[in-house]
Symmetry: C2
DNA sequence: CTGAAAGCGCTAACAT
DNA sequence: ATGTTAGCGCTTTCAG
């Protein structure tokens, strides 16, 4: 009644277990009639195929790719770009027979865990087991970076699990997939400058994981932890636009963009253009402008970044920079493949492309 | 140089492997000094903890919960409700030390696989290994249903992997998490009827996985495969609204709602209200109405379903029915727990709540 | 409280 | 082409 094992099948087919194994894996020479006999015996016994646990222990491979979510951005699932990248990654890996295991980020270094109560009861049993430290996986993919000091990353490196970094800070020894976002913002800056904008505000991704949001003062601007944010601001300046105000959001979500837009557009010296570091934020800014009765692009130009589909704005087409999300997923897939084959994958950087929509025009 | 094993740690600490095992698992009596000695030896050797592969084979448990995506709806990741449910599920399971493995749906019965070429080369090795059939997992969760005849489901049942069904059709022997959506739509219907609407159109989720979209004629209406769609339409009628036109979409996405809205609002006998089967679709309808110069709710009332956050509409608050997404995730978590403990989980159905917003009003 | 021994189910050398 | 033999690393009886 218990699940049959390969040994049962082998016995029933009158062959050895190793032969039976070959019948399933195809990893070795086997006579066609023999193979069929084994398969028939398996069908007879209702054998569902080799138990993955046994196979994994023996081969030392789990066939699992862990994906560390929410390193920097909180609820990755809510962020369209993260979701789309993940989507691409899952399909790419599935074709290699690899599964994606979601690893929700543990408490990182940014927010220290709550103080431990003095325990009078049980011995110090592992309170919350951390998947990054305990789950089986052959490779880990870090979506959207994290602090190298993160608990999860330390655990992974102790376990010798190779890590592939997507848009994260360069970490020694990790292959990285990134985009040329500095150039993308330089193009956006040049576009706005050529239109004649001089009073430009920026809405940026989080500077760190502190979940701060609001206009960043000089002090805060000196504390930008995340390369991606700094790089994008620098790109903008390279393009000829030095933002007069910088608004930092806590998450890359439309709501946050609305908030940022309302603040920036209600203050004195209203900007003639707002550069957002993501399409979601830009969409929020457009919505905020509309609610304040401003015309886009007549009264305000808005730019985004990412090139995701934004049905929310109706006919309005966001001026943005398109990054190749699907290709990024595929690139990660190839890196995983290389890693599993024992070779060192090479980091890649993809180019991005300016796409001019209907949200930018000369200032009035 | 190779990774140390538990045996190495035990030897170094001067204890037996079984004792060393206890030091890590805490699953048995062990003297505190002994435990510390083992842990010290582990730290010394840079041992990262018990190898999950060994543990899994021995205990027969992988600690992995497979989540079958896209059963019915294609790219689940793009659908806000699926994403939010998944989000809740991941956090709930993480607290139990369980990981979520994403299982992209294989080719289901709806779309038969492409015809096999006559092979003259290699023996019939498994072309594309299907994760549902090969990956290690203790339980599978079916998000948004599927056909019981699906390849993946068959594979899971052959492997004796218990399945928990979220919003799927009842499948014999599977525990199910669902919501009282019939009642929700009855409430929506009653609300619209009480406002005086009689010419109401409906925008529904896909009838099956054929990815058809457009106005459903009588014949098509007789082919609704998915319980959820039928049940929701029935609920609406119970509430006193019999839709004059039914538009079926291929995906529950804003774009599709826009498409549906444009079609329904451009035809003759324009409806005074449109009932959408999801908030994403309703948002699209609102956008379409605006683009056609119609006022919501003045010229058109619109209702959604799900109660997800929709920042896209600005100040507009959708009249909708709120379903407890987080609670659904938690319920699945509890079921998984029960299943792993060897008991039969009980199916649950959650109540939903009508939330009247600013998108419904009496017809002009 | 600790140790010895067995074996989870499979695959990979090696021998035939 | 097939069989024999050895473990992969761990947990779990069962004795002591």
């Amino acid at each position: 009644m218990a699940r049959p094992t390969l040994a049962d099948v082998a016995r029933s087919a009158g062959v050895s277990v190793s032969t039976a194994s070959l019948a399933f894996s195809g990893a070795g020479p086997i006579a066609e009639p023999t193979r069929e006999r084994v398969l028939a015996a398996a069908a007879e016994l209702d054998y569902a195929g080799p138990n993955p646990l046994g196979r994994q222990l023996r081969s030392g491979r789990s066939g699992i790719v862990g994906v560390l979510l929410g390193g920097v951005l909180g609820r990755s699932f809510r962020e369209p770009v993260a979701v789309q990248t993940l989507d691409g990654l899952v399909s790419t890996l599935a074709e290699l027979g690899l599964g994606v295991l979601l690893l929700p980020a543990g408490r990182g270094t940014g927010a220290p865990p709550p103080p431990t109560e003095t325990r009078t009861d049980a011995p110090a049993a592992a309170a919350v087991p951390n998947l990054a430290a305990t789950a089986a996986m052959d490779v880990a993919v870090l979506l959207w970076g994290a602090n190298p000091a993160d608990e999860d990353l330390i655990a992974l490196s102790r376990r010798d699990v190779p890590v592939i970094n997507v848009e994260g800070p360069a970490i020694a020894g990790n292959a990285t997939v990134s985009i040329n976002d500095r150039d993308g913002f330089a193009q956006l800056g040049a576009h706005l400058a050529s239109l004649g904008h001089t009073r430009v505000a920026a809405v940026t991704l989080p500077f760190d994981r502190s979940r701060t949001s609001g206009i960043a003062d000089a002090e805060r601007l000196g504390q930008i932890k995340l390369d991606i944010v700094r790089r994008r601001l620098e790109g903008l300046r390279e393009g000829g636009v030095d933002p007069v105000t910088v608004y930092e959001v806590a998450y890359s979500q439309v709501e946050q963009g609305v908030e940022a837009g309302k603040t920036l557009l209600s203050g004195p010296d209203r900007p003639t253009a707002i550069v957002a570091q993501s399409d979601a934020l830009a969409a929020g800014v457009v919505i905020a402008a509309r609610e304040l009765g401003l015309d886009v692009p007549g009264d305000l130009s808005v730019t985004g970044f990412d090139g995701i589909d934004l049905p929310w704005l109706g006919e309005t087409v966001l001026t943005t920079v398109v990054q190749p999300l699907a290709e990024k997923g595929a690139a990660v897939g190839r890196m995983v493949e290389a890693l599993l084959a024992g070779s060192e994958p090479e980091s890649v950087t993809f180019d991005v492309e300016l796409r001019i929509g209907t949200t930018t025009a000369p200032p009035r």
